[in-house]
């Protein structure tokens, strides 16, 4: 147990009871998950709570969950990675192109799958490095940089395939997409493994702790000798690698790759992160929260399908949830009164995520 605590970070140091009492307790999310489960079980008793549906959810969750983890990590430094879907598609196309041009990479065997995963993570990491360089070296804002590169990567993926569907893929990659161990989808186990690794990166590595410090207070981080450019670079490379992994799962789950998969996942990934309790203004992230949020949103989607509601209605629900979660956060931070919410100050960009060098020239006005 003590080893688990040391791996999962200070939150777990308080023990389970202590954790549940903190401000960032996962208990409300567990409660929400149970309520959502009960609602859909009552509404669609023959479809929703079945083993088949649970398994289908297990297959659908990993890709968005991993993208959610990537967005979570970018939010930790008060950043934002809107390019994750583009990166995932580009990695996916890279796998397909490799299978098309390298005879060996179209063959069977788990070695090929591992090689494909490495290809995807390298491509993803390179894309992340482009984002990191634009933001930390050139001085881009996170949003404009990743918005533009997101379209750029998506466009490259589409341009490389020329809009055609590449269906010559290694057979064992498709096996990965449908394999189960004791009824549990293998890719779901992959997702859990990735989540645990991210928990370690977040709480036990220099990168994670420095990212947290920068997200909490960029000036204090600078004065403590944390070099922002390197941390920003590292953060976006990690986001890219995660998106690359999501690309492997995309590829395993579809019969063909054309670089346009999951265009609605950007909002979903952001929603997963903020529903999981991640503070978009930086400084706090929770892997457990993100995993729970992924489960909750997948239940909502499956429940909507079970009730014959359309994909578009689910989109409305996503948007409404984003707004509701943000509003609830503001409500809670301002002592739960409407007066407090209406009279609070607009959070200033300069408070936290000052662009490089900007903080140096602006005088600090004391009240």
């Amino acid at each position: 147990m003590s080893k688990l605590r040391s791996v999962l970070g200070p939150e777990w140091g308080r023990g389970v009871v202590g954790l549940l009492r903190t401000r960032h307790s996962p208990l409300p999310l567990v409660g929400v998950a149970i309520v959502v489960y009960v609602i859909f079980t009552v509404a669609a008793p023959n479809v929703f709570p079945t083993g088949g549906n649970m398994q289908a959810m297990g297959f659908a969750m990993p890709e968005v969950g991993i993208l959610g983890l990537a967005v979570m990590f970018s939010m930790l430094i008060a950043g934002m990675d809107l390019s994750v879907v583009g990166v995932a598609n580009l990695s996916s196309v890279a796998i397909a192109e490799a299978a098309l041009h390298v005879h060996f990479l179209a063959g069977g065997g788990w070695g090929v799958v591992i090689l494909d995963a490495i290809i995807a993570m390298v491509v993803g990491g390179a894309c992340g490095a482009v984002n990191g360089a634009l933001i930390s070296l050139v001085g881009f804002g996170d949003i404009i940089a990743t918005l533009a590169t997101g379209y750029l990567f998506l466009g490259l993926a589409l341009g490389i395939t020329r809009g055609a569907v590449l269906s010559k893929l290694p057979p064992d990659l498709a096996t990965l997409g449908i394999a189960r161990v004791g009824g549990v989808p293998v890719i779901f186990l992959v997702f859990l493994a990735v989540a645990i690794v991210m928990g370690v990166v977040l709480n036990r590595t220099r990168l994670g702790l420095r990212a947290m410090l920068i997200g909490t207070n960029v000036t204090a981080a600078r004065l403590s000798g944390v070099r922002r450019p390197q941390v920003v670079m590292g953060t976006y490379v990690v986001c890219g690698v995660l998106a690359g992994l999501a690309g492997v799962i995309f590829t395993g789950r579809v019969a063909g790759v054309n670089g346009t998969y999951g265009s609605s996942y950007v909002l979903l990934a952001v929603l997963i992160a903020i529903l999981g309790g991640v503070d978009p203004t930086g400084g706090f992230a929770s892997v457990l929260g993100v995993v729970l949020a992924t489960v909750i949103l997948q239940m909502v989607q499956s429940g909507f399908t079970a009730l014959n509601l359309s994909q578009f209605t689910y989109e409305v629900a996503q948007g409404a949830l984003v707004v509701a979660v943000l509003a609830a956060n503001v409500w809670r931070k301002n002592g739960g009164s409407l007066r407090g919410v209406l009279h609070r100050r607009r959070p200033s960009r300069n408070d936290k995520a000052a662009p490089p060098g900007e903080g140096d020239v602006q005088p600090v006005i004391q009240e």
């Binding site: 934002m80 634009l134 050139v138 001085g139 881009f140 804002g141 949003i143 404009i144 940089a145 918005l147 533009a148 590169t149 997101g150 379209y151 750029l152 990567f153 998506l154 466009g155 490259l156 589409l158 341009g159 020329r162 809009g163 265009s263 609605s264 909002l267 952001v270 929603l271 978009p280 203004t281 509601l309 359309s310 578009f312 209605t313 989109e315 409305v316 629900a317 996503q318 948007g319 409404a320 949830l321 984003v322 707004v323 943000l326 509003a327 503001v330 209406l342 609070r344 100050r345 607009r346 959070p347 200033s348 960009r349 300069n350 408070d351 662009p355 060098g357 020239v361 602006q362 006005i365």
Partner: protein
């Protein structure tokens, strides 16, 4: 020695004069450079593909720019404050499709005045929701507008309609043939649409709002420093509210022009093409950190983007590469802006020494 210093002084004076003249040509937000780029692209593509040098191209580019420009002006108002509003395309298609559907069901007879009024009204309502969330509740602009974008687009497809409206009755269906001037050509001519006049009037009005009114100046002040603008006493809440209302109304009008120009209404249209507008506004010299930007720059940015769009088609570049071109263009332009910002700051600091 004195003659030496005098000549040095003269050199530095003439250098300063050149610099001032250069700044005037370039414009405070690089408008001159965008105008030059427009001319260069036009000349270059025309040299390769001579059909490009014609009034048909010019009219086509301008007609296509109208809706993009309306979306871009709304986007500019919020970008000036330092935020990115991503819901304008969803507002536009919501208004455009709903009005087209109403007309095709005979709710009104396709009168364009009614259509525009309805479009403005729908846009205002959707803009008011954004304003409530961002200006009053002070939620982060980007995430909230990504949320409302999903709400508007999803609600349109779930509850308003998901089928294509292939025709619209009355004037509304014929917007695209209302030409002031017509240029005919072998492959089919093109006319300059009458809607150019109201759109120019809107540009002038927004420009006056931004440069001559306290609420307009508040947007710039907020982009410079939220805390500073608040302490000076700028009415930030009202300014952001008004910016979202204007942006919503303009997006609503843009949606009407969109469905009118193509004479059919597809509810899955527009959403997902936001990058065109973002690129146009950024190329027009608006700062991505807020506080800088002009209506003139935005107009030129939109014209340049639409011209490039036509150029890519004329040069036979597959449309699959459009996003690559747009993304790369944004990255290049913003990089240049940032490099310029750093050098101008070092100039200022050097001058202080």
């Amino acid at each position: 020695m004195s003659s030496l210093s005098a000549s040095a002084q003269a050199t530095s004076q003439s250098a300063r004069a050149w610099h001032t003249a250069w700044r005037r040509v370039v414009g405070s937000n690089g408008e001159g450079l965008v105008a030059a780029a427009i001319v260069l692209v036009w000349l270059f593509v025309g040299a390769v593909h001579s059909d490009f040098w014609s009034f048909v191209t010019i009219f086509n580019v301008i007609d296509n720019s109208l809706e993009t420009l309306l979306f871009a002006l709304g986007f500019l108002l919020i970008l000036l404050t330092g935020g990115m509003n991503m819901s304008f395309d969803a507002v536009g298609i919501f208004a455009g499709y709903s009005v087209a559907l109403m007309a095709s069901h005979g709710v009104f007879n396709g009168n364009v005045v009614v259509a525009v009024a309805l479009g403005l009204g729908i846009g205002l309502c959707l803009g008011a929701i954004n304003a409530l969330l961002v200006a009053v509740l002070k939620l982060p602009v980007l995430i909230v507008t990504l949320g409302t974008r999903a709400i508007y687009a999803g609600a349109l497809l779930s509850w308003v309609g998901s089928a294509l409206v292939p025709r619209m009755p009355g004037w509304l269906g014929g917007i695209n043939s209302w030409s002031m001037v017509y240029a005919s050509a072998k492959g089919g001519g093109a006319g300059l649409n009458w809607f150019v006049i109201p759109v120019i009037a809107i540009c002038v009005a927004v420009s006056i709002f931004l440069t001559r009114t306290v609420l307009g100046r508040s947007l710039y002040a907020m982009g410079g420093s939220v805390e500073g603008a608040r302490r000076v006493g700028f009415p930030l809440t009202w300014a952001v509210t008004l910016a979202f209302l204007i942006g919503g109304a303009l997006a609503g009008l843009g949606g009407i022009i969109h469905v009118g120009m193509i004479s059919s209404a597809d509810p899955t249209d527009l959403v997902g093409n936001e990058l065109t507008v973002v690129a146009a506004v950024v190329i027009g010299g608006a700062s991505i950190f807020g506080g800088r930007g002009s209506v003139l720059g935005t107009v030129l940015g939109v014209l340049l983007i639409e011209l490039i769009n036509f150029a890519l088609i004329a040069l036979g570049v597959p449309t699959a590469w459009d996003n690559v071109a747009l993304g790369a263009l944004i990255l290049i332009v913003v990089s240049l802006q940032l490099v310029g910002r750093h050098s101008s700051r070092s100039q200022v600091l050097g001058g202080l020494k």
